[in-house]
Symmetry: C2
Subunit: 189 residues, 2 copies
Amino acid sequence: MYSQPVDTRDKLIESTRELLWERGYVGTSPKAIQALSGVGQGSMYHHFSGKPELALAALRRSAELLRAEAERSLLGPGTAVERVTGYLRREREVLRGCRIGRMAQDPEVIADPQLRAPLAETFDWLRETITTVLAEGRSRGEVAPDLVPETTAATVLAVVQGGYVLARSADSAEPFRQAVDGLIALISR
Amino acid sequence: MYSQPVDTRDKLIESTRELLWERGYVGTSPKAIQALSGVGQGSMYHHFSGKPELALAALRRSAELLRAEAERSLLGPGTAVERVTGYLRREREVLRGCRIGRMAQDPEVIADPQLRAPLAETFDWLRETITTVLAEGRSRGEVAPDLVPETTAATVLAVVQGGYVLARSADSAEPFRQAVDGLIALISR
């Protein structure tokens, strides 16, 4: 009796995550969420007040998973350059883009402070984490002494997010790889 | 008699450019284009077969203007690093994002080879142009001899496109500036 609502909630969140990734926020309708999850309209509105609340739950879960994934490379073993390289080169579905970053193009997400929050928090956390990795690496002599950790961390994030944009535009993962290779060469000097 | 159709066509293209930038492709309806342009439905379908053809004309015009803007800094005076810096730092409506790059997040644009073409062509042209600027700069000793023009050019493009994503996520132009500052420091070494 008690596990059923949890499963239904979970199905709704997972279906919303998929639809947001595939179609964006504007392109995702409550009807499509019901169809993909197999959850009826009444049950959906029992668990969530509507699309914004569902999307927020989906974005929060995607942000959590993205963070766990990033931690594996950034907080793992190796020098600062190796860890940042691991983060940049980790396996990605390049042509689908970032589940979080793609939402930034959606005007309705950006106009709603609650929906925008998981985006801002994820990128803040990533920037701070990469800044720490680079600052520690600099103090250990693993990166050049003139490399500025804060701004370089912002550059690392931008290359990933922009790499997705270039890859989707070209319908090829190649521009993503090139942008990452160019950055790794620059920070390895 | 002959100037009227040209004006109407132009109004439709400019209104579509604005709506695509503001709402994306999926979020732009033929009705919204008619409302913003003040052009009636019959007249709209006299000039364009529908939303895809209108969007293509709008994207082609945006690509042309973006290219002219980029040429001013990239093909202007100065060293290679100065020209790339000028391109990265030129005035931009950072929070609105790139008129071309934002379309890459739109599944319907990416799924249509015709609509995707202006995106792919614009980024190809930019990458080739920046590659040439950096290669010439390297041969003149303006950039470090170990800097690879091709991949660095891809990194430059990615930083701009990703900078927009980070700025929109943060509702602040600051992350764009930080990412650009980080990159300029890296290529100036």
